[in-house]
């Protein structure tokens, strides 16, 4: 591989890893948001249950 081949591989790998990690975080947030929306809400507080 030429000098530029190694350089391009290094810069390309940097973008690949950083974007892949950003995508991984995005997927985790989206999944957690969806799960949270499906779960029943917190039980009503004492004030909310007052007549």
């Amino acid at each position: 591989m030429s000098e530029w081949g190694y350089v391009v591989a290094a810069f390309g790998l940097t973008w690949l890893v950083l974007l892949a990690y950003a995508a991984y975080l995005w997927r985790r947030i989206r999944r957690a948001d969806a799960l949270l929306a499906q779960l029943p809400g917190a039980p009503p507080s004492a004030e909310e249950t007052l007549p």
Binding site: E3, Y6, L13, T14, A32, L36, L39, A42
Partner: protein, 254 residues
Amino acid sequence: MNGSTMAPPLPGVGSPGGFETASPRGRSVREWLNGPGLGWLALIALAGAQAFGLLATPADRDMGHLQKIMYVHVPAAWAALVAFFLVFVWSVLYLWRRSARYDGLAVAAAEAGVVFTALTLTLGSLWGRPTWGVWWTWDPRLTTTAILLLIYAGYLALRAFTDEPDRRARWSAAVGVLGFLNVPIVYMSVRWWRTLHQVQSTPDTLEPTFAWGLRLNAIAFLLLLAYFIVRRRRVAQLERRIDARLESAALAGG
């Protein structure tokens, strides 16, 4: 084009924020961190800094164009060391205050640090093959960095295998403090044991154009580190809320 209608620069950058506290007095720093601003800034800074490093800096006298790998390898290493320093600080704060907030921040920094360390080692390998003739050697700098990666991978594994939140936070904070002991060893390894890996360059030993390439890329990597910590902390917050809801539901049901 209006910023609010643009596609996010990085996945999830425009989604609801990582910090739940909103200032009623307009756009606070936290709101800015939660919005697309940090992601856009990191992306633009990275693209600009890499373009500068690739196109505006001359070839090195000894290494030729291979020297340009420095603009990604060194900033990735710096970002990793900063991340582990933050793990140390937030772990100490957790042990002192026992606040889940610091635990969430520590794990966010640890995970980002592992990503940057793995990247550093891989980029070093790509640089080492044409300059040293090998993909890997047991040079003290490489070895101590690999140990650093294992320590913080172990930190993340420990968290994955511990269910009880308080115990998980306490144990991982202890690892976060003790694991940091290796960071100064990594940094000083090139001075204590002079082998293949070169010692740190300084602005005095670098051509000014090279130094600027390094500075700009370091800023871009630190912005990315901040972005990753904000997003990963958001994951930790959501997971805590899910655990709390499940616990409430179980108590209500039982």
